[in-house]
Symmetry: C2
Subunit: 198 residues, 2 copies
């Protein structure tokens, strides 16, 4: 049972079907991302409906080269651009929230190659302006999801000689995000724990 | 001369060439939007470099139907989706900022048809969570740009029988955003004025 600061209470039910589908999926690149992204999107929708916070996903940036106006406006030539910021941002108690979600198939460490220099720069700016910045990182094969402060990731990215963050560091510096029924991935309880009284 | 709360000072030079091109443009739908959008984007870039705030533009949402992987990943069939949120959001002094920018060719009022119900709903959520929400509205032919609080717009949208906000209301309830050289549209001085001491 979780009690939010606004007094709302709800219980969490483990969803067996979801865990099974997670286990049985092929861990293709697309599925992997979509599972974590889908879980976060559903959680954000839950938070919005419950009036707990408002977090939105930035659309994938696409560079449009050609549009056919003969049948409405159909894009006939375009390509995906790399996200220069992060996937999610929003507001919680007036405060700015910004985070990136990543999933890895590795079981012993999280490769920093998953994070772009642009994203690190973006998160440094967020921190400079006192925003709350973090990563949600999934170890898909371990079925574990962690909250890891952006400060820690930036420091590791810039100062460590290692090219990946060992799993053990997540246990020390991260917070495990519990999977549940509603919300699917309750990262807001972690924000409450860290920033709730500030 | 503008003095920001962090002590930075800069002078504003009117840019004649910009004003001329503004006057001479054809006010086509595309140009119009791009002028205002371009001016805001350049101002945001300036704010970022100067370390004053971090505001980013959400990419236009595009629904991708077909991707050709034979030559990389070329999108061959897709269409534009309506933005269900607003164009811009970000962080200033830890606070969440969210706004929509609109331009009109009308000279006596701003038609509410320019704003979608989804955007009104989104901004209501932002205000509920104590975010700072507003509109930047350009009267292109009058060469005037205003800051108008989202609360006022939402109230007008929901309670007025009029389908457009009269220009006079902008003079009473809005703040004129001065055009300058850097930043092109200095809306941050208005945030300083309204929220600087809160």
């Amino acid at each position: 049972m979780i009690k939010y600061s606004n007094g709302q209470i709800f219980t969490k039910k483990p969803k067996k079907s979801q865990q099974l589908s997670r286990k049985s999926n092929s861990f293709s690149h697309g599925n992997r991302g979509m599972n974590l992204e889908g879980d976060i999107n559903i959680s954000n929708e839950y938070y919005k409906i419950k009036g707990l916070c408002l977090i939105t996903k930035r659309p994938t940036p696409i560079n449009v080269v050609k549009v056919d106006y003969s049948k409405g406006a159909i894009i006939t030539n375009a390509y995906f651009e790399k996200q220069s910021t992060t996937d999610y941002n929003g507001v919680w108690k007036g405060r700015y929230i910004d985070f990136e979600a990543k999933s890895t198939l590795k079981t012993t460490s999280f490769p920093l190659a998953n994070i772009s220099t642009h994203q690190i720069e973006h998160l440094k700016h967020v921190l400079k302006h006192n925003g709350i910045a973090f990563f949600i990182i999934e170890f898909a094969r371990l079925e574990k999801v962690f909250y890891l402060d952006a400060k820690y990731v930036i420091d590791f990215y810039e100062n460590s000689e290692r090219k990946s963050i060992p799993y053990g560091q997540f246990l020390i510096h991260g917070y495990e995000i519990k999977k549940g029924y509603t919300p699917r991935l309750d990262y807001l309880v972690i924000l409450e724990e860290i920033y709730g009284n500030s």
